[in-house]
Symmetry: C2
Subunit: 391 residues, 2 copies
């Protein structure tokens, strides 16, 4: 039984949060001064734990155990969004540090490698570090050369080793309200949802809103409002329990009370674990847009983002769930609506994620927080899972 | 029979359009250099026509006939919107000049006073000049002190004289497509529509659009989109033939594809000649907004503009209609969806308006234009109407 040191876990989390501290949160975008200092501190803590640690030229902090030839890889990211929370990313990294350290101290049969990936949040290029680690980084992609130019590090990129790494485990705050609402303390992530994002633009004609009869208008605004409602209706009718959708951007031009809108556009985004459902929703949206375009207003549709669902390894999830139940806590299975390093890692290794609650569902804000008892419980569950996976 | 000189009419219109010329249009906002030059030119042309002319301190150019103690007042405005059309306002002023001039030359029993009001378009304060002329100007209203500070003129304000002025007549381009669509060349304006303008604001909560379940959102954007559709449906169901409405402004914040909107607002405007209908529409809108506000999103409504309908004098309208028919042209009765100086004048004098077609319905743009034959016809109709009114 790997015994984690809860005081040391919390103290390391608080210590890491001093780097880029902003009120109760942190400001630690990739390769900022605070991020680089945090990564150097992490490297130092890994070495103190007797891990073989280094920072590669992408900024990944990688601590390798010398205790065994096979190891469980635990990690997340220590960069943050501007004025973000103290636990987003940091939690999964410090869980890895604490469990690896406990394994070494307690001469456990399990060995743990720890990693803090760089730029998960996409200051330069989202998932920069984990993509490099998995060997799927396009070095010419937007932001990648800028990130490299900003890096102070020169070590060869750390890489996933399929003959060494048994699994990738990532713990994270939920960033949503489901655990809190269900009064559960441990979430087992079924997968990271796929995303479709579409920009719809209606093009009509600006006219005087007093002198142009209703029947003679080419009102791009009204056409878009009608279409938006039909999309909301259609999605509500075809959604599964965890499907989410959002119209987060609406723009109407020229934007005057007395001018019939010449152009109007919106961004429609939807997410689910089921890629076929996403495709059905996209097809319905295309059909509704095409119908809307048969009137006096032209309607164009452009897909601006497409991310496929990344299911987590079901057996690893079951191990985490069993570990949770063994510690007296019934876990909640749920998809992750947000992206995580595990999304990329799952293409290279069997991967699993554990969630702990976010108070009020808040994240990407300095108000983000989690009860310390939940933080400690999550680490105990993950340590127990590591022991089973290594065995 | 007052015979107008069509070549002189067109030549004066072209001459006036040289002041502030921009392509095929004019840029002549109130008290701009071009506007002041145009007003001085107008004053000169009035004097050449043997009118007693002056520019008052509000910039109104007023030409008074000395031929009789009672006169028909004809006018409009010679200021323009930025990069506006050459006929908007100018047409009604030059009609007045030509008819007054013809009356004097032809020793007609009819006498005509001519006026070009200042700032109808509201560079400083909409209807500045006509409000001063009617004695209803609030000198402390926004923009009025700025306009006065800009004025180069010092003459005492010209004022309406109810014992002298038999009626106010204003000719204008339609600024809409109705005459063209109906293949009519003369419009008799039943009145200037009333306007209600309302800002509706929905306030919810920003949340992660991936991690927040649909049922736990306070989505201000979706609430506003739903409400907008209900308003469009309700208005379509209760509108009269000439009612118009517009949602010209829609704003959604923070405005990111992956963030549930925290706030969303729109401007809803509607116009009709029937004040009771406008009030019924406003009541329906208030009820729909109140219903929408019973969900998780708060909805506020603020009336931002209220202009009462200004009916034109029916008997004067009939005189214009008869004059049109006598010249072989069946007139179209229609409301004006845009505001005009006659809206204010109708509170002081029996007032009427004549419309001539706008090519393609275009206005407030340098593309604005009207067939010269229609310009000439409109002036002939108005001259014939003046003769009947004076008789």
């Amino acid at each position: 039984m790997i015994e984690i040191n809860s005081q040391r876990l919390l103290s390391d989390l608080r210590e890491l949060a001093k780097h880029g501290k902003v009120g109760t949160g942190v400001d630690r975008p990739a390769f900022s001064e605070a991020d680089v200092a945090a990564r150097r501190w992490l490297e130092g803590r890994m070495r103190e734990a007797r891990l073989d640690a280094r920072i590669d030229r992408y900024g990944n902090v990688y601590g390798r155990s010398s205790a065994a030839s096979r190891a469980v890889l635990i990690g997340s990211h220590s960069d943050s969004v501007p004025k973000g929370g103290w636990l987003d990313g940091a939690l999964g990294v410090i869980y890895g540090l604490e469990i690896a350290r406990a394994c070494i101290e307690q001469k456990s049969a399990a060995a743990v490698d720890v990693i803090s990936f760089q730029d998960e949040e996409g200051r330069y290029a989202p998932f920069l570090g984990v993509k490099s680690f998995c060997g799927v980084l396009d070095e010419a992609a937007p932001g990648v050369p800028d990130a490299l130019a900003k890096s102070l590090f020169s070590a060869e990129p750390a890489r996933v080793e399929k003959t060494r790494h048994l699994a990738y485990l990532e713990a994270h705050i939920e960033q949503g309200p489901k655990l809190e609402a269900a009064r559960r303390r441990i979430g087992v992530v079924t997968g990271i949802v796929g995303i479709r994002r579409v920009r719809i633009t209606a093009r009509g004609q600006a006219d005087h809103a007093g002198t142009t009869p209703m029947g003679m208008r080419k009102d791009a605004g009204a056409a878009l409002l009608r279409l938006a409602n039909r999309i909301l209706d259609a999605f509500a009718g075809m959604a599964a329990a965890d499907t989410v959708w959002n119209i987060g951007v609406v723009e109407v031009q020229p934007g005057a009370a007395n001018v019939v809108p010449a152009q109007a556009s919106m961004m429609v985004e939807f997410r689910d674990m089921d890629a076929r459902l996403l495709e059905r929703m996209l097809a319905a949206l295309r059909e509704l847009a095409a119908q809307a375009g048969r009137g006096p207003v032209g309607v164009e549709l452009a897909e601006t983002a497409r991310i496929e669902p990344a299911p987590m390894d079901a057996r690893l999830g079951e191990v985490i769930g069993e570990a949770s139940r063994a510690l007296g806590e019934a876990p909640l299975s749920l998809p992750s609506g947000a992206g995580h390093d595990a999304m990329i890692m799952s293409q290279a290794l069997p991967s699993a994620m554990l969630f702990i609650p976010s108070i009020g569902g808040r994240s990407h804000d300095i108000a983000e927080d989690t009860d310390e008892r939940d933080i400690v419980l999550g680490c105990r569950v993950l340590a127990a899972a590591v022991e089973k996976i290594a065995a």
